[in-house]
Structures are given as structure tokens and as C-alpha cells.
């Protein structure tokens, strides 16, 4: 059924349709509307046979999900940014134990400096924790990915992180098609765990594994994600049959067939990029877009195939490997040797900085004219940066960087002298 609702509410509806049994979450912007929506449904009885637990921290949230999932319940939680970091130990624990928890990450920047706006630093910080990581391009895909995630995680006994851009998607009203309960029930059978805490058949879960077997256990975790590379596209096809749309899969290509330059990105910025690409195509530029939906496992072969004929790649990413450059671009680079010969990293949108068509067009044009540096920060205010560096050169007690910059911008009142 078509609805015009907030992204968070669309996700809450989708999760509710998946018949979760234990929901536990701790509030953090910008995920709160999701769990509030679910909490209301549980309390009113609309979502039956579900325990909603108000936990005291994100670490507790993931831990409650671990206990619930290990005991055979379908468990769900949601977080962002600082919350994801706070539960990091438990995040690794969940994937290490092979528990099929589904978690929404409403992508938000990680402090310091504290910032509530969108970028991908939170999900990226956990990219090697063993969870499957899926990125939604719009709210329709966000709700669809949750429905796919429960089935995927339970089939593989792996937890799945569904990432959607905080505020940009979570707080945006747009048209979505909500499936029926019958449709979701047909897609998602009841949870049948591979391992479960059951008094009738006792098992010990979580014992120490020494050097004799740790390599093998970790290899098997990797093998599971390799299997996901096969399942994800296959099931995206099944999803298309069952629900009538192209949500999920490993990646989406747009106008890449004859593209000499391909722009790679994750998440909602793909929409703005596609609009920009359409304008540049009208001007004759042979440019296309590759949207990565499945970030972990990284779809090496599919990326290689999608970029095979491109001479140049521009990766626009809302993440930064401090001291290295791009995270997504590093992953892109591992997908091929040789051609494409040039991969540009464009760090953009950190901390919610707007990514505009104008700025993108400038950068794509520069790339095509071979005038783009290997690593650039989109829309960087160089004067501001220079002032900060000069301040540090001038005096030892130069003060907190962020506050000084905000003062320069006039956001914070000047210090009295």
C-alpha cells in the first residue's frame, strides 16, 4: 500500500511486519523515531508476541539482543554513531557467535567533535566486524532491505546491519509502498536457529577458542560472507518477483554501459549524483553511476564487472580513513588491477555538510579534464583551514580547534579580550 510517511516510520512498519520477538533499543538521534514507532505498536498490542525492552545503554541493547537471539528469538535493535561505538564489543561478539540479529544504523558522524548529522563514519568504523552491511539509497529500499535482512541473517546465522542516512532518509517524508503481512509472511518464515539455548538440548555457547582452531573459526566467518555474495543477488531477484521492485542486491548501475567515467557512492547521495549525471550527459559527458548496496561483503567481482570499461572512477564517499584517504575508494581499488587506471577519492558530506549538484558537477568535470587530485575534500573552506593552521603555528596554547573554527565562522560568539 502506498503511503507518504517519514522514513523512520516506514522502517518501523517494515520491521513490525517481520514479526520481531524481542526489540531493545536505547535512544540516540537520528534513530529514535524508529524505535518509538515500534514501541508504540508493541504497547498498543498492534505488534503482538513481541517484548519491547527499554535498555540503559547501547551496550545493553546489543547484549539483550545477543541473549534473546541465542535463546531463539528474532531480535532487533537500532542505533547510530556514538551508540554503535559504545556497543562495539558486543557487535563483534554477535557476529563471532553467529547470531542473526538485525540492526538499523541511522548513519551519523562520530565525534569528537560531537555532530548529530549524517555521514558514514559509524558504519565504516565497524566494517570489519563480521556483520553484513547494506546501504539504502532511499526510504523504499530502506524498508525493503530490512525485510531481506531478517531472512538473510537467519539463513546464514550472521547479523545484518541496514544502514540508512540519518535525517536525510530517516526524517524525510516520501512515497513508499508498504507490503502486506501476507506478502512478508510468505517471504520470511519463522526463525529456526542453528544453535539455541534450550533446556531440552543443552549446549555451551561462547567458549574460548585457542590457537588450534581460531584461524578456522574466522575463516568460516569469512566463508559465510562469501556465501552471502551469492545469496544476496539471487534473493534480490526473488524479492522482485514477490514484491515487484528492484530493492537490494549487491549494487545498482545507472548509465554505465558506455560510460568513460563512473561515479561510485553509497546511500542517499546517489539520488543527487544521478540528477547531476543526467545534466552532464545532456552536455555530452559519458558518465555513469555505480551505487553499492552491499558494502560487506564487498562485491569484488560485481564491482570489477561494473567498472570494466570505465577509464576513470570517482568515488564520492561520506567517510574518511584518517591518515590514508578514502575507505570506500580503498575497497574499490581492491576490485581490480590495472584498468581503470585512475580512481579519485572525493571525501564529501562529512558531518552532514550538504552535497550539491553544483559542487558535484564541478568535481566530475575536473576529473574528466584530468584536473582532479587523487584525494579531495568537497567544498572545503581552505581559508578556514589555513587560519586554523596559522593559529597553531603562532602559539602553543592555540585552543580547541573546533571552537576556534566555529568562532571564525561566527557561529560562536567571539572571546572577550
Amino acid at each position: 500500500m502506498l503511503k507518504q510517511i517519514e522514513g523512520s516510520q516506514a522502517v518501523a512498519e517494515a520491521v513490525a511486519l517481520c514479526r520481531p520477538e524481542v526489540i531493545c533499543a536505547y535512544p540516540i538521534s537520528p534513530q529514535t523515531h524508529i524505535v518509538e514507532g515500534l514501541g508504540e505498536r508493541v504497547k498498543s498490542g498492534a505488534l503482538a508476541k513481541c517484548e519491547f525492552i527499554n535498555v540503559e545503554s547501547e551496550f545493553a541493547a546489543m547484549s539483550v539482543a545477543i541473549g534473546a537471539s541465542a535463546a531463539g528469538a528474532r531480535a532487533y535493535t537500532a542505533t547510530a554513531s556514538q551508540g554503535l561505538l559504545y556497543m562495539a564489543e558486543a557487535v563483534f561478539n554477535a557476529s563471532g557467535l553467529g547470531l542473526s540479529i538485525v540492526m538499523t544504523v541511522a548513519n551519523r558522524a562520530i565525534g569528537a567533535p560531537i555532530n548529530i548529522w549524517n555521514d558514514h563514519s559509524d558504519a565504516m568504523s565497524q566494517r570489519d566486524c563480521g556483520w553484513i552491511q547494506l546501504f539504502a539509497e532511499n526510504n523504499q529500499e530502506a524498508l525493503d532491505l530490512h525485510i531481506q535482512a531478517f531472512r538473510l541473517g537467519e539463513e546464514l546465522s550472521l547479523p545484518v546491519m541496514v544502514c540508512m542516512d540519518g535525517f536525510i532518509l530517516t526524517h524525510a517524508y516520501e512515497r513508499v509502498d508498504i507490503p502486506t503481512q501476507e506478502q512478508v509472511d510468505a517471504w520470511l518464515p519463522p526463525y529456526e536457529p542453528r544453535q539455541v539455548l534450550d533446556p531440552a538440548e543443552p549446549v555451551s555457547i561462547g567458549a574460548m577458542v585457542g590457537p588450534e582452531a581460531f584461524m578456522e573459526v574466522r575463516y568460516l566467518a569469512h566463508a559465510k560472507q562469501m556465501r552471502a555474495l551469492e545469496l544476496i543477488p539471487a534473493w534480490a531477484g526473488e524479492f522482485r518477483e514477490a514484491f515487484g521492485r528492484d530493492s537490494g542486491g549487491l549494487l545498482h548501475t545507472y548509465r554505465t554501459d558506455d560510460a568513460q567515467m563512473v561515479v561510485v557512492a553509497l546511500g542517499s547521495v546517489l539520488g543527487t549524483i544521478k540528477d547531476t549525471v543526467d545534466e552532464l550527459r545532456r552536455d555530452g559527458m559519458k558518465i555513469g553511476v555505480l551505487g553499492i548496496t552491499c558494502f560487506r561483503p564487498w562485491p569484488i567481482a560485481a564491482v570489477r564487472a561494473a567498472l570494466a570499461h570505465a577509464k576513470r572512477v570517482v568515488v564520492v564517499e561520506k567517510s574518511l580513513a584518517v591518515g590514508l584517504g578514502g575507505i570506500v575508494s580503498s575497497n574499490v581499488r581492491t576490485s581490480f588491477t590495472g584498468s581503470p587506471d585512475t580512481v579519485h577519492t572525493v571525501i564529501a558530506g562529512l558531518g552532514g555538510r550538504s552535497i550539491t549538484r553544483a559542487a558535484l558537477a564541478r568535481v566530475f568535470t575536473a576529473a574528466l579534464a584530468d584536473k582532479l587530485e587523487p584525494v579531495t575534500f568537497l567544498d572545503l573552506d581552505r581559508a578556514l583551514v589555513e587560519r586554523a593552521l596559522a593559529r597553531e603555528r603562532e602559539q602553543r596554547r592555540s585552543g580547541p580547534i573546533a571552537e576556534n573554527i566555529l568562532r571564525d565562522l561566527g557561529v560562536v560568539a567571539a572571546r572577550p579580550h
Binding site: L2, Q4, E6, S29, P30, I116, W117, N138, F167, I168, H171, A172, Y173, E174, R175, S268, V269, L270, G271, T272, K274, D275, G352, S354, I355, T356, R357
Partner: protein, 196 residues
């Protein structure tokens, strides 16, 4: 694509207005996107919300930089925030006030635009009268429907009833209708004045 930018302060229903606008467009079978310029919850601080309308899927996610229409819920923002930034030459402007563009000190600016697309409406007063609360957002949507013709008053009413219940919904609908009539009247008078 038609882009609207709504300016106001926290607590005035700016974000809700954008959402209702998107719901109204949805009810008319159009695609619509509404989102706030984001910040922590804080009453009184300047807030901006955006709405895009189109007949096909809207993919763009940047803020509305070149609005086709502006709704200004709080005239105290006029000289504090760059509310007019990027406004298209034939753009619509609706300001919540009982004063004129001239009296607000933006008469000079208004002269560069199309007069019949610039309207004011005392939305807060109308809201107080019909709703009992000084929240002008729903009323302004009625005014917007009138000045732009891009959305029908019926759709606005339906959107209001989706967001609110009972007396509050009906009060808002009444305020929106009153604002619609007010603006239509204002436009008629401006046309007659031009014709003379």
C-alpha cells in the same frame, strides 16, 4: 520539479508544514519529498524545512537552494536569516504577517519579483481565531494553495486531517480555509489595482 522552502522558528510547526504539503501532493497522485534542515530540538531557534513536488520520482537530496516558493512563518527572521536566498525570479513568496512587504522592509526586494505571486496573510491571527493556538503552519498551507495554485485546498485539508485529530484538525482546516480565502482576495485586489 517545484521546490518550496519554509522558514520559521522551532515550535511553529515548520517541519510539520513541509510534511503536510508533501502529503497533500501525494493525495493528488504526485511525488513529494519533505525534510527539515536538521538540528536538535530547540524552541525558538530558526528552522528551515524543504518540500519538493514532481510528477516523477524525486532523487535529489540537496537542500532547496533555488526555491520556486517561499513560506515565511515568522517575519522576525527576515533580517536575521537569508530567507530569500536563491529565490527564482518568478517565485512565490508568502509571509505570515498583517503588515505589507513595504512595512516589513523588504519592499525593495519585492519589486524585482512578480507582484501577484507575493502575498501576506495574518496566519497566526487566523490560527488563534480558528484553532485557539498561535501555530500558523496549517493556515499558511491554505494560503500557499491560494497563491501558487500548485495544490488544492481540499488536499491541504486532507493532509491536515491525516496529521491531526478531532478539534485540532478541524481548527487547522478552518484556519487554512480562511487563509486561502484571504490570499485569494488579496490577489484579486492586487489584480484590480494593476488593471486600474
Amino acid at each position: 520539479m517545484f521546490q518550496i522552502r519554509i522558514h520559521g522558528r522551532g515550535g511553529q510547526g515548520v517541519v510539520t508544514a513541509a510534511e503536510m504539503l508533501s502529503i497533500a501532493a501525494f493525495r493528488e497522485g504526485r511525488h513529494a519529498q519533505a525534510f527539515p534542515s536538521f538540528g536538535s530540538e530547540r524552541t525558538g531557534a530558526p528552522v528551515v524545512a524543504f518540500c519538493r513536488l514532481d510528477d516523477k520520482e524525486i532523487r535529489l537530496r540537496e537542500p532547496v537552494l533555488a526555491p520556486d516558493a517561499l513560506i515565511i512563518q515568522d517575519p522576525t527572521l527576515l533580517h536575521q536569516v537569508d530567507v530569500f536566498g536563491g529565490l527564482q525570479r518568478d517565485g512565490y513568496v508568502l509571509i505570515n504577517t498583517s503588515r505589507s512587504f513595504e512595512q516589513l522592509g523588504v519592499g525593495e526586494f519585492a519589486r524585482g519579483l512578480r507582484a501577484e505571486r507575493l502575498c501576506t496573510v495574518p496566519a497566526t491571527e487566523l490560527a488563534l481565531k480558528h484553532l485557539g493556538r498561535p501555530v500558523p503552519s496549517a493556515a499558511l498551507l491554505g494560503g500557499f494553495a491560494a497563491v501558487s495554485g500548485r495544490i488544492s485546498l481540499d488536499s491541504v485539508a486532507a493532509a491536515i486531517r491525516e496529521k491531526f485529530e478531532g478539534k485540532v484538525a478541524e481548527g487547522n482546516v478552518a484556519a487554512a480555509s480562511a487563509a486561502y480565502d484571504y490570499v485569494k482576495n488579496e490577489m484579486r485586489e492586487a489584480q484590480h489595482a494593476q488593471a486600474d
